[in-house]
Amino acid sequence: MSDKLLEVRNLRKYFEIKQGLFKKVHVKAVDDVSFEIKRGETLGLVGESGCGKTTLGRCVLQITKPTSGEIFFQGQKLEHKGMKDYRKKMQIVFQDPYASLDPRKTVADIIGEGLDIHKMFKNKVKRRERILELMDLVGLNKKFYNRYPHEFSGGQRQRIGIARAVAVSPEFIVCDEPVSALDVSIQAQVINMLEKLQNEYGLTYLFIAHDLAVVKHISDRIGVLYLGHLVEIAESEELCDNPRHPYTQMLLSAVPIADPDESERRQREKPEGEIPSPINPPSGCPFRTRCKYVTGICSEKFPEFTEVSPGHMVACFHHTTTPYLSVTKPATEGVSHLPQNEISDDDLNNNANDYIADVRGGVSDDRIIDEGGM
């Protein structure tokens, strides 16, 4: 478990868009993201639409060429040209099972395409055997061998997509929202299958999704993206129990809970604002426009990624003052993390406002953090 399989360093991907005839602006889809994935681990990436999670997944596989930054796979640096050898080791499962399968190819040809490209089977009988074995592995009936994608339901198509990815015996798979297009009862089938494959073949996953509950279920660690920045990363239990970035807290409190008692009991904060346009993101910390702990420093620079507890990194100036917000636990327990038991949400809001007032009054940020004393 311990050795690094994949390392991403300072990855950036800027897309150029033209505005008018001559003016060009950059959309910073991924901005200075670094993380690593250990062998056999699942790293989940969550974020809202437009936060750059899909671009990040594509950059990791060099399907899109990153603007800058380095990606190491098993210690080797990946280059945009010369990926062919790595394609056997790194695969991807796409979100839309309708768009990602060639409608003019049979199931066998879709699954076998990788085998053919890498010339893994010269013998046709062996190739057929391998494809049938793969179909069996992902729970597709062997009689579908010569069928076309349009004859299948969404869940079955996603199984074909997964069989295609697994065909070349990869070590690493990027799963880009593999279940979000599926119905709930089918979702669980696919999630279980991905977990089974991981256990059997020691696969490593980068699991990209917007559904926090799904990501929490499948991931060992979770990274949270906001407007191209990685704002928090931690073990999944730790991230969900002790979220330290205000954005993570907001996300967690917005997840609907399928339990009437729990959703009544939970202290729900109304999430403020909307995700700003990535064409013209706020200066400094991108989340400051929606953050209730915002102070003057937030607009000046992007906060450093700091380790708050072993393996738990967060990029926020106020991670020491943001209260622990226990979202999934009953409200009373959540409050007990605070130094004084009686602090209500209103007080916290007021405190945040006081901080803002203080900063405007010219008090240095260090003092503010001290005063928070949490």
Binding site: E48, S49, Q189, D211, L212, A213, P256, I257, D259
Partner: protein
């Protein structure tokens, strides 16, 4: 929930023409809705949840046909109304918001024009009063700078904002019933939470009834009072939120609840999926449509559809398990 019955759907059957065959989409469903109540309709794609709500406003596409049943709204059968009468109800007494706020707003008209459309049709307000009402509505749904927004087009607004405009349009004539067809599915989770909070607030403030169609059980648990679970065009279980979530009797409801990952669960808990796929509606026979996926399936299930069993307190389930065991 207190209040009188506002809407009653009795034995509704709908089928779609596919070439030369009729494919059933709804197979005899009945439910009722009280004043001030939020009713959730859950089900997977193709289970008929959207079709059943579209029937209430008679908004079926050309190939769809209501073959049986009645929909009683305030004592009158909507299915027997003349075109003029139903037009008077649409957007006035009953209004609707849709899943995709981008495609359901007209790109060629400003926000103000679109919200004003229903007012023009159903109220006697003059243009100045109408503008005031539009601004009031925009305020009500939490859109800032309404004076500016009123002149903007759909493409200038974000997804959450568009859905707010849709809600403002739907509320313009103070409807008694709001049908929300997956209103938050296309939205991000933080925006979804905002819209749900907004709908809850508005429901309380305006004391309207809501039919909330969704596939997300989390959303149901958040907003609904009562829940109807649909499968293959039939209602398999209905009851209060607590009945469905804590005392579910139908194997499908039970399976749905077990197959969604929850935030509280630890990773080691394995999801229990419902094996198999929903049935092909063209090939439905006389059996219980869930029988081939059901782990409790008995011989009886393959022969005949189960009757509805009343478990008391408004909790109904249709499963042979309840009848025979």
């Amino acid at each position: 929930m207190s209040g009188n019955v506002l809407l009653e759907v009795n034995n509704l059957e709908v089928s779609f023409r596919n070439g030369k065959v009729d494919v059933p989409a709804i197979q005899g469903i009945s439910f009722s809705l009280h004043e001030g109540e939020v009713l959730g309709i859950v089900g997977e794609s193709g289970s008929g949840k959207s079709v059943s709500s579209n029937c209430i406003l008679r908004l079926l596409p050309g190939t769809g046909r209501i073959t049986n049943g009645e929909i009683i709204f305030e004592g009158r059968d909507i299915l027997k109304m003349s075109k003029k009468e139903i037009t008077n109800i649409r957007g006035n007494d009953i209004s609707m918001i849709f899943q995709d706020p981008m495609t359901s707003l007209d790109p060629l008209f400003t926000v103000g024009q679109q919200i004003g459309e229903a007012l023009k049709k159903h109220s006697s307000l003059n243009s100045i009063e109408r503008k005031e009402r539009i601004l009031e509505l925009l305020n009500l749904v939490g859109i800032n700078q309404p004076e500016k927004r009123i002149h903007q087009y759909a493409h200038e607004l974000s997804g959450g904002m568009r859905q707010r405009v849709m809600i403002a349009m739907a509320l313009s004539c103070n409807p008694k019933l709001l049908i929300a067809d997956e209103p938050t599915t296309a939205l991000d989770v933080t925006i979804q939470a905002q819209i749900i909070e907004l709908l809850k607030e508005l429901q309380e403030k305006l004391h309207m009834s809501i039919i909330f169609i969704t596939h997300d059980l989390g959303v149901v648990s958040d907003i609904c009072d009562r829940v109807v679970v649909m499968y293959a065009g039939e209602i398999v279980e209905s009851g209060s939120k607590r009945h469905i979530f804590y005392q579910s009797h139908h194997p499908y409801t039970e399976g749905l609840l077990k197959s969604i990952p929850s935030m509280e669960q630890s990773r080691s808990v394995e999801l229990i999926p419902i094996e198999g796929n929903p049935p092909d509606m063209q090939l439905l026979g006389p059996e219980c449509p869930f029988a081939h996926r059901c782990k409790y399936a008995m011989n009886k299930c393959a022969q005949e559809k189960p009757p509805i069993t009343d478990l008391g307190d408004g909790h109904e389930v249709s499963c042979w398990k309840e009848v025979l065991l």
